[in-house]
């Protein structure tokens, strides 16, 4: 750096100047380095576009299993045996016979009465540990606000009209203007809306979609699940021009259209420094969004508060299906760890709404005759929704001694008194879950009924397994002196009461549950390492068309080598860790059905297969279905307003589709009314259009 050398000879008098000089040089050096980094990132991206082969499911799965190495794949690609994943074509290459659709026949679901403005105050339990959307710590409770519920996809599933037409759910346009489906070639063509802009003003183009695939296939994001998903489930992406592209999937599954429209492009220009240090470099940078809300740097007060701000120039603000939504100017989050404190904060008017899903909050802590409710300052709302249900229940590890006996597992079913919990603890508000996949509409088995609590049937089942005598504590023992006692682990501290109730009930049938309450992370770790006996837990499920079986029930997710070549169970098999097969089911018949289900392209056939699988799972009896919460409940201050119909069918909470608004000037008026003894008409609403019979 010659400038520095020259100035170093000058007198100390010029120290100040010198420092400034050095600073400028450092800046220059830094921008040089940035330039190099950008060039490198650009080169890596282009290399990926030019060389990434299309693996498809078979090869990708073989690679995951370790049957094929990266070198072999490279060799195959070099020999030209593999198709390229990224293809650059011209508009002339587009087929002529496509039928373009844009979902414009669907009804809008937001209320035209909604008014923009105001700040919505709410609280989170933990401060987000990153603003990245992928990578370590990104999958947090805050992610919906920077990704799932705010960012636009190419097309969105209609949350009210959940019918399946022509094999597809109904979609309304997001970033896409229109789309066309070519089932025969398993390809979806998409035209991007020319008006689409990122929140920093840049255009959204097909390059951003290509970049998204590159990004999610890259190991630099430190997310194996994304790497696998975006390599296995898509086989080709073709760019026709700035605004037109197509994506090809390996199997024409019934929800093929959704798999493409559900993609969200990423701003390539923002990730121009993408490299191996992505996780650290982008930790606190807000990704420009296609959605309505942005996070400004000055609103990130780490560990304390964070706020979303409505982008007044949001490109989609007047677009059908998007107008009259995202009405709050700001959404302000503070951190309150303790639920009881959050509730007090709500009562004080510091946060605007509070979830009342648990019965003691709905009935005891905020009863209808509570002063705030009776005076109409706070409204109570119940909204029955219709969506796939989280799988709350007992997950029995069938690789454990005694639990590997189906009779004992069946006995555990009959000895689990969910009825009492539902009736006396949940006060009849929740309902019993019956299958492993409730809430999937026509993909949910209509006839299977969970086994009810029945001491006699439980004792019979245990007796078949050799447990006939009771010891002095009333627990069954067999001839070899083994006790019928299992550890029942959970990470849900707020639901531990359920387990202590069921513990006492199970003892009636001579079954001892040892209740173990761990913190959430420790409990999840235990179950992921397959160290549990019985786990009370749930998988959260998205509103997909049909349930997934491979992850939770295929034998490759149960044991390292589940079967010997002749099909007999391998005596030396070891449980697979870090998979979702928590029951360690390894059943060849089930495996075959799962594989057919995965490969099937017909909704009718998949439904039949799903039912067959549910019947096998019911027979296997290693999952005790728990409860279903068929609604969400919320209390909100009177200044919060909602559409007539309150929310949409698929919603899980009011901040998912953002249909509510704040009546201007009302906050001040209501808070003032609170100090006087003014009363309003009480608001206690139950919206039960989608209440099951």
């Amino acid at each position: 750096m010659p400038a520095v050398l020259r100035s170093a000879c000058l007198l100390p008098l010029f120290a100040l100047l010198l420092a400034a000089c050095g600073g400028a040089d450092r800046d220059a050096a830094q921008s040089d380095e940035l330039e190099q980094r950008r060039a490198k990132a650009q080169a890596a991206m282009e290399h990926h576009y030019a060389n990434q082969p299309s693996l498809g499911p078979a090869l990708r799965e073989a690679f995951e299993r370790g049957d094929v190495t990266q070198d072999e794949i490279d060799a195959m690609a070099a020999a030209g045996e593999l198709q390229p994943f990224f293809v650059f074509a011209t508009p002339d290459d587009l087929p002529d016979d496509l039928t373009w659709q844009d979902g414009s026949d669907l009804p809008e679901f937001a209320s035209p009465e909604a008014k923009k403005g105001g700040t919505w105050y709410t609280a989170v339990q933990d401060y987000p540990r990153t603003l990245r959307r992928v990578g370590p710590d990104a999958n947090s409770a805050f992610r919906p606000f920077i990704l799932d519920d705010v960012v636009m996809n190419f097309g969105q599933r209609h949350p009210e009209d959940i019918s399946i037409v022509g094999g597809n759910f109904r979609y309304y346009p997001g970033i896409a203007e229109s789309w066309a489906e070519d089932r025969e070639n398993r390809t979806v063509y998409v035209r991007i809306n020319p008006a689409a802009r990122w929140s920093d003003g840049e255009r959204i183009t097909a390059d951003d979609l290509l970049f998204m695939f590159y990004f999610f296939q890259s190991e630099w994001i430190n997310e194996p699940w994304y790497n696998n998903f975006y390599s296995r489930n898509y086989v080709r992406v073709v760019r026709y021009d700035d605004l037109t592209f197509s994506v090809t999937v390996p199997e024409a599954k019934p929800d093929m259209l959704g798999r493409v429209l559900g993609l969200e492009p990423l701003p390539a220009h923002f990730f121009e420094e993408f490299g191996p240090d992505f996780v650290d470099r982008y930790q606190w940078r807000f990704v420009p969004t296609s959605g309505a809300y942005v996070i400004r740097d000055e609103d990130v007060r780490r560990g304390r508060t964070i706020a979303l701000t409505r982008n007044p120039d949001w490109w989609a603000k007047d677009l059908p299906f998007w107008r009259h939504r995202y009405n709050y100017d700001r959404i302000h989050f503070s951190v309150i760890r303790d639920t009881a404190k959050r509730f007090e904060s709500f009562r004080a008017g510091e946060i605007d709404a509070f979830g009342l899903n648990l019965p003691d909050y709905y009935y005891d802590r905020l009863p209808d005759d509570d002063d705030l409710v009776a005076r109409g300052l706070v409204g109570k709302y119940t909204f029955y929704n219709e969506r796939p249900r989280p799988t709350y229940g007992f997950w029995i590890n069938s690789s454990r001694p005694l639990l590997d006996n189906r009779d004992i597992r069946e006995g555990i079913h009959y000895a689990s008194n969910w009825e009492r919990v539902l009736r006396e603890y949940f006060r009849g508000d929740y309902t019993r879950m019956h299958t492993t996949a409730d809430g999937y509409g026509e993909f949910t088995h209509p006839d299977i009924r969970a086994r009810d609590f029945d001491v006699d049937k439980a004792l019979e089942a245990f007796a078949r397994a050799g447990f006939t005598e009771r010891d002095s504590e009333g627990v069954l023992v067999n001839e070899r002196g083994q006790r019928l006692a299992f550890t029942l682990t959970t990470g849900y501290e707020n639901l531990q009461d359920i387990l202590t109730i069921m513990q006492r009930e199970a003892l009636q049938a001579g079954l001892r549950f040892r209740v173990e309450v761990l913190d959430g992370t420790a409990a999840w770790k235990k179950v992921q390492e397959k160290q549990h006996d019985i786990q009370f837990t749930a998988f959260n499920v998205g509103p997909e068309m049909y349930p997934r079986y491979w992850e939770t029930y295929h034998s490759v997710n149960a044991y390292d080598r589940a079967f010997l070549p002749d099909g007999a169970p391998n005596p030396d098999r070891r449980p697979m860790v870090q998979t979702n097969n928590l029951q360690l089911i390894a059943n060849r018949e089930l495996d075959a059905l799962i594989e057919r289900y995965r490969a099937s392209e017909s909704a009718e056939e998949m439904r039949k297969l799903a039912f067959e699988m549910e019947e096998i799972l019911f027979e296997d009896a290693s999952f005790v279905p728990g409860f279903v919460m068929p609604f969400y409940r919320v209390a909100a201050w009177r200044w919060a307003r909602w559409p007539e119909h309150f929310d949409v069918r698929l919603s899980r909470d009011p901040l998912q589709y953002f249909l509510g608004w704040i009546e201007p000037g009302e906050r001040e008026r209501i808070l003032a009314a609170r100090r006087s003894d003014q009363r309003f008409e009480p608001v206690i609403e139950v919206h039960d259009r989608y209440r099951p019979e």
């Binding site: 005891d364 802590r365 006699d456 009333g474 202590t500 040892r514």
Partner: protein
């Protein structure tokens, strides 16, 4: 046993300190009652008269309904003695069930009005302090929780004194290298953070361990980290006594080390050590309550005061009777022990008997 006249005078002095003495009597009474709490607060019958014969199920094995001629499913499940009482009454053939004074166990979920929730005190139903959030009787849980806490505290005190006094006395009596070595060991050991150790060790204990085994482990961990405090007092006291003429005289007379330690030094240091006992007990009760409050203590659903405090603070506005019962119980126990401690210290204070002018 013949007591030293000096000790007798100390005991007499203790009796004269009314507040401490009565506290002592009350605490002993409570301990005595809690030792037989199964007979007073329990959901198992005290006595059952069936077909002319009496049986006493309180301490026996779990009985199935068939024993009392119940039919159907009830014959094959453990007897619910409250239901049995109602059944016998309906039969009216001379069979009867005598329930304890308070007919609730610490684990019984009583759904008042068909709903499991915290119910305020209800004398008619026998919930004198109300129920907790799953319909369990608070008085029953307090009594059983108190028993566990007291047993724990007493065992803790006995063990810490055993270790602390032994090592402290040896340090003071032998002195020299032994003393030096143990001082360093204690310095290092007492710097290990106790709470972290409890949390770490409890995170690796498998849940297959029974509740009593877990209490035992908790006890051992706490003792291991608490004996160090006592050694220094004991060491000083021993040094002081060893330098006295009577010890030298005993040595000259040819008394063995064990005789000197046990007959001469230990009895003379008792005064110092005894005054710490009640405060050690208080410390132990507070510690186990705090650990339970934080969720690192006894496994659910074991009754404990700490767990009740936790539940009570979470339901402060809707069920104030939970936290007030637990809090009052804790205050009473700690006050009693503290009063005893004050009285013991005063009674054993040498200034009562010597006058320096």
């Amino acid at each position: 046993m013949r007591l030293n006249p000096l000790t007798l005078r100390k005991l007499k002095r203790f009796r004269e300190i009314r507040r401490g003495y009565y506290s002592f009597l009350i605490l002993i009474g409570l301990l005595g009652l809690s030792a037989v709490s199964e007979l007073i607060i329990n959901d198992r019958a005290l006595a059952v008269r069936y077909e002319g014969a009496w049986s006493f199920p309180t301490y026996g094995p779990v009985e199935l309904g068939a024993v009392y001629g119940l039919e159907g499913t009830a014959a094959r499940r453990p007897v619910d003695y409250r239901d049995l009482a109602a059944h016998f009454e309906a039969q009216d053939v001379g069979n009867r069930v005598i329930m304890p004074l308070i007919p609730w166990g610490p684990y019984y979920n009583d759904a008042v009005g068909g709903i499991l929730r915290a119910e305020p005190p209800n004398f008619e139903r026998g919930h004198y302090l109300g129920t907790d959030t799953t319909g369990r009787d608070i008085l029953a849980r307090l009594v059983y929780g108190f028993r566990t806490a007291m047993l724990f505290a007493l065992a803790f005190t006995a063990l810490t004194y055993l270790i602390g006094v032994t090592i402290g006395c040896a340090m003071g009596y032998f002195g020299g290298l032994f003393d030096l070595l143990f001082q360093r060991i204690i310095e290092i050991w007492s710097n290990v953070p106790f709470l972290y150790m409890v949390i770490i060790i409890f995170s690796v204990i498998p849940a297959t361990f029974s509740a009593s085994a877990r209490i035992g482990i908790l006890l051992i961990i706490m003792v291991l980290f608490s004996w160090t405090g006592l050694t220094y007092y004991m060491r000083t006291a021993t040094y002081k006594e060893k330098a006295r003429d009577y010890t030298a005289a005993a040595q000259v007379l040819g008394a063995s080390t064990s005789r000197i330690v046990f007959r001469h030094i230990l009895p003379n240091t008792v005064a110092t050590m005894v005054t710490f006992v009640p405060f050690t007990v208080v410390g132990a009760i507070t510690a186990i309550t705090a650990l339970d409050f934080l969720g690192f203590g006894l496994p659910p659903p074991t009754p404990s005061i700490g767990e009740m405090l936790k539940q009570g603070t979470a339901n402060l506005t809707t069920a104030p009777w939970i936290v007030s019962s637990a809090f009052a119980a804790l205050v009473v126990i700690l006050l009693l022990v503290t009063f005893i401690g004050e009285a013991v210290r005063e009674a054993f204070d040498p200034r009562q008997f010597t006058l320096y002018k």
